[in-house]
Amino acid sequence: MASLISYLKFEEESKRKKLWKTGYELRDPNSRSETSWRSESEQRIYSTKLVDALRLVRRNPSTADKVSSFREIREAADRVLAVAAKGRTRWSRAILASQLRLRLANNMKHKRAKVTGCSRPKRLEKKRFSPTLQRKAGLLSRLVPGCRKVSFPNLLEEATDYIAALEMQVRAMTALTELVTGPPVDRLGSTSNSVHCRLCLPRSPPS
């Protein structure tokens, strides 16, 4: 519960600092520390934390229902991914915030509080972009969490980071699934002892 409260405080603080309302959103790339989603260590950290989270899911089988179990796993995977971003990106903050809201709503057992977004939505500059481009940007903004009212350059930045993170998520979960399913026969004919190493390695060579 304490962690939920600290997440809430973080969200409030962000609003107070007007992170989401600032006019100048494109940060200097040199000063920004980015998560390198392609590194082995990042994937290893993610896999470890995911396994920890899944362990918790197992311990509280609230329902043996398949749908809720799927939901819990999907949410755990997303939550751990968002935490790995360390609050640097909008999509990660949005994932955590929306999960928090759901949890609090369920705990308090009343209607989910309506999120008050920016009072003045930031529109894409209509002079610049053709309607098709605007439409596609709108589609993209709906796919990346928390990016519906975000400037075009910021949207592209967020999408870039989000894609890299998703790729890592897929790599890690695939490796985990293979580990649990029983590894396919390795080309090198290695024994099952090396399976734990395979959990850490990215499937495709990092570019």
Binding site: K66, R74, S130, A137, P153, L156, L166, V170, V180
Partner: protein, 94 residues
């Protein structure tokens, strides 16, 4: 009243300082990430195409994660047997 309006105009002025060059830069960075476009090796990809392919790629990644979550939830559900697989699951995830 008028001061508020001019202030907001000033704010939007700041955001329009983002240059076309920065945008094309970001678009090309995005382009490099998407396997569809990267593998085709054509230099002339329109921004519209990049956006479209980005959306498709993100959707397919979401689907993969959903599929993997599904498989994991199935695997976690079937740990009654005494197989070696169940032992692995138990040691790792329980």
């Amino acid at each position: 009243m008028s001061s508020r309006r001019s202030r907001s105009r000033q704010q939007s002025g700041v955001s329009s300082n983002i240059t076309d060059e920065q945008i094309t830069d970001l678009v090309s960075k995005l382009q490099q990430l998407i396997p569809e476009i990267r593998n085709r090796r054509s230099n002339k990809v329109s921004a519209s195409k990049v956006l479209q392919e980005t959306c498709n790629y993100i959707r397919s990644l979401h689907r993969e994660v959903d599929d993997l979550s599904d498989r994991l939830s199935d695997l976690l559900a079937t740990t009654d047997t005494d197989s070696a697989q169940a032992a692995i699951i138990r040691s790792l995830l329980m």
